[in-house]
Symmetry: D2
Subunit: 351 residues, 4 copies
């Protein structure tokens, strides 16, 4: 940490900073400069809170040199985290894991038909919301527990693993009982109570980046989960807010190599929410894999025009098949491949 003093700071001002740093248990080292003095802090283990230092008179700026997170960092753990699912699929290895399904579970017929189709096309995880966070209180909020049961049924029928969202501390145990991966959505990325509860769960967590979250913010939120004892976190880039209304969000694919450099955690991309427009999903799915993503989250609906939510960005099964072919080509050009469930080589679509 480097504390930069204002230009007209006096020797006493600098001395006051040195004293406070000392009181906080660290060593201060003044660095005289041409325009202004700076004070280096030695011994900071990443937990030092800058705010107190910024409050000292004549302090202009506090610059973080150490990273504010620990367990999620590449420096804490060199080798990549690989999250293994019950159906034998691994996230964070050489396989590219495709999670697909409808935005929301709507009926037995809808989720089972969609599950069959995405399974046949090569997906290994089924997505589908039972509890839905919606901007408006007047739109469809999901089937709740019934939706969870339908997901379990679809898993039984297809061998797909299940990822579904938990909205709050109350329903997280319910969700975790059924899900193979518990999703925490973008709107809840800094819901710390929920993060801590997920950290106490034994299920892997899919943590989506908030709409205006920096990569640092995202990693700090993941740190909440690891700190509570759950090491199995999968990060997800799903687009950030932008000034251009051509797409719903701005998919920031550079987040993929940025996360891979800073952290050992796997990261996947969600081009469905990341663009919000059906015909942009395929090109951006390809691009995500080319950027090095460990997986994809894709909205697929057997009849997109009847979807109760997010129909505009859902692919129909035919479009999804084309996507899978293209994604597999790109993955192979990278020396990777689309991951398949353990029994996948044996059976057909229905298993």
């Amino acid at each position: 940490m480097l504390i930069v003093m204002e230009r007209h700071a006096s020797a006493e001002d600098v001395q006051r900073v040195i004293s406070v740093v000392g009181e906080m248990g660290y060593e201060a080292r003044p660095i005289p400069g041409h325009q202004r003095v700076a004070v280096g802090v030695v011994g900071n283990d990443g937990r030092l809170d800058a705010a107190r230092l910024l409050g000292i008179p004549k302090v202009l700026e506090v610059i973080h040199v150490s990273q504010p997170y620990k367990q999620v960092s590449r420096e804490w753990r060199e080798e990549p985290t690989v999250v293994a699912l019950p159906n034998g699929v691994e996230i964070g290895g050489t396989g590219v894991v495709v999670m697909a399904g409808p935005c929301a579970v709507e009926s037995a017929e809808q989720i089972l038909a969609t599950a069959e189709r995405v399974r046949a096309a090569g997906a290994s995880v089924l997505r589908g919301g039972a509890f839905k966070p919606r901007s408006s209180p007047y739109t469809f909020q999901g089937l709740g527990e019934e939706g969870l049961e339908l997901l379990a049924l679809a898993r039984e029928r297809t061998g797909l693993a299940i990822v579904t969202e938990a909205l709050d501390v109350e329903t997280l145990p319910l969700v975790a009982r059924v899900a193979d991966i518990v999703q925490i959505g973008a709107r809840n990325m800094q819901n710390y109570s929920l993060l801590k509860e997920a950290g106490r769960s034994s299920k892997p967590v899919l943590l989506k980046r908030g709409m205006a979250a920096t990569i640092h913010d995202l990693l700090l939120s993941a740190e909440y989960i690891l700190k509570e004892g759950n090491p199995s976190v999968i990060l997800c880039e799903r687009g950030v807010r932008s000034f251009d209304t051509q797409t719903r969000n701005l998919l920031d694919l550079t987040a993929v190599p940025v996360v891979h450099k800073l952290s050992h955690l796997p990261i996947i991309a969600d081009p469905s929410h990341g663009t919000g427009v059906r015909d942009k999903v395929r090109p951006m799915a390809r691009a995500a894999v080319a950027a090095g993503a460990d997986g994809l989250l894709i909205e697929v609906h057997v009849r997109p025009e009847e979807a109760l939510s997010d129909g505009a960005q859902s692919l129909d099964p035919g479009e999804f098949e084309r996507l899978m072919e293209e994604v597999d080509s790109i993955a192979r050009a990278m020396g990777r491949h689309v991951a398949a469930p353990a029994g996948a080589a044996l059976g057909g679509s229905g298993v």
Copy 2:
């Protein structure tokens, strides 16, 4: 609602849209244009979900003409909502309500001393966090219940009303028992479980705008609270994410007249978080009042350089006194004034 078709849409494509609109219980009215056809939807009461329409082939865009929210809108209720506090102060009337205090409650000595000083300077509400949402799990998270008790003690001593944050559904009842206003922070603005719980509380709610939330998003979140039966919502502009790192956030003061036009709810501004820099708090507090804000939320600490959180943006009591004088001048130039608690005219600072 207006459904815009792609340029090459055929008569059948348009007919399909008309049918779906009919199935959804609304009337469709095609509007032929020079470049393309559009279909107007008549009878939409604001609850129609655009996603299903966007999923129909050859639909280019769905444009909302009606607003997606109801009870929070000016069209629902013409006259402004005025939130009355137990100490006689009203938010949303002609008085400008100043809420001031430390970022976090740290000790009895700190909160009582700060309360006395802000009371003496003319504040009518004491702010102070007992439960703190922090980006990093390694920084100070607040005193919890002990913090709430200290706030109650400060209220008893000074007559100030209390505003403090609730982080989750579990602790909201605890917070609501003590607080006169329950705060929902920017990071929880779309935590719908928390919003609903706050909607079932009898205490007024201070809802802060999320870091990348549009005004529509903010009003929709408020709608969640009103829909559950709690009409006493105070909105708060606290800065949005920006590309310039000169300030912590970009305080969007135009939000004040925008909200006043669209909604009957009062809106206050938080120039402390909105700028994150001490010497920007006073000018932006003045600007907020000049823009028409119904109140201010200001961080004040008796010794900012010792603050456990956000010291960089906290004023010391002397600076706060100057702010109050300036804000009062601006308020009077607008035909308003700084609101005072019921007994304020009688007593002095210590009450």
Copy 3:
């Protein structure tokens, strides 16, 4: 300047950095840390280019401690720059200077009528575009030289000073011959050829902030003008790009105190472009003055509904009169006042 090394940088990596810094003519000072080594650069006069350092292997980050600009900074010149206009009005002093008029000069009748009205209401500078930068090549591009002549005529009739935009190096001399202040628009803020040409002009320059320019970018662009010998630069905040479409731009009023701290140059605000919505202009004009702005730029049209450009944000003369009354009240609450031209006390509206 501080050069932060990657965690696994070796002693040789650090030595290489020290050598390069030495070759560049500065002194390097290594600062060992708990997690990583940093290297401080002593003697940097603000012109050192970071890119070369960032290219060295194992360099993680280069942090600027010195400012990259010189002549525009408060540290270069302590007292504020005051720009005096021929009609006796000063920008950057205690007076708040109001510049008002139509977006574009459209006809003699329009510009003269508008000039009379804004003069009567208390403005001291007339704005009006003769050369208009327009996003689309198919919209009205201004009257050109004829527009300049009409502005000169309006000045003769009313005593108002003239501010109008120069679009390129070719037409700048033409504009500078007539204008009392040459405006450089947001789209040209980093048109360095134009900035240099303006720096060689003897007329004051109104430099508008670009749509995604940081305050540093704005000050660096002003530095181009000062470096060429023209000290009379007035900065202008006119809103930045944002994700919310409620307003055309996001007016960043915190830019006012930020600029006042970093620079001696005056700064005004343009709430017309800054909001793009007529009924937001008055509140944001008040807020700008309360934030400390040295002036305002306001679009006024005698018949806004007939304006050839930007009618949506233009005030009619009656609305402008109300704005002037409110702004004057706010200015007086701040110990300032609305500046008037030299002869203003004598004559009436027609002069």
Copy 4:
């Protein structure tokens, strides 16, 4: 175009709008709604200016249904524009064109050595700035005419085509005399005088997206060039401003399929400026090609650590070779390939 009225608009208010639309030469068609009335405009050919309509009392919003640009749109020309270069390379066809070279031309030795290396690795166009736009007036501004001569020499030696930037109307003819492609940089994207001059040139134009430009803004700027008679425009995504400082800009790769849908013009990506960080260039180059980009613009320097500008994002020749191998694999997975100059199959690296 759809004109949405305020809720409380009267029949006279609506009638006034209908009259104005009629005066402007279009037909107005009122659409009564549940909450409010809207007025459709029939016959708009894309040139109708919304501002005048927004200025009419009780008009809430004007919604564009037609696109504001013409010649650049897919609807104007169905088949893709292919730009042919003198060395036989085509941009916009099935080949992926790689343009590579240093940020700035620094010396004969540097540009010739770099040109040989990028040619050997498979590039077909040499980039290199002779005139450099720099934020600070105190940094290296390019070699000017001497730089142009060195580029011509490098072309002679290697057969590479040349792309280099023109900064203003004065130097554009100079640049166009030497360059095979004239680049207009992000800062000049809305410098309309320069766009018009480029439109009168016979050389293809590489138009880079501005830092906060929407795709509509970019297409409108291209329209300026086509309208003057130059059909050979290549668009370039180079990152937009963002709130996260992990990368210099946020590379918006979704712009690639968005442009391909709206326009017939080719679009390439610049991952060097788009990320600003060397180790992010390769993954984002791969991602750009997977998203469908027609080419890449890559900074390569024989000795990045000695580069006078942008060394932080320049690849060394070895890294560039790896990039070319990876990009070619991705292109082949897409049924494309890296484009080679006409004589490339015959000779070796030195030609």
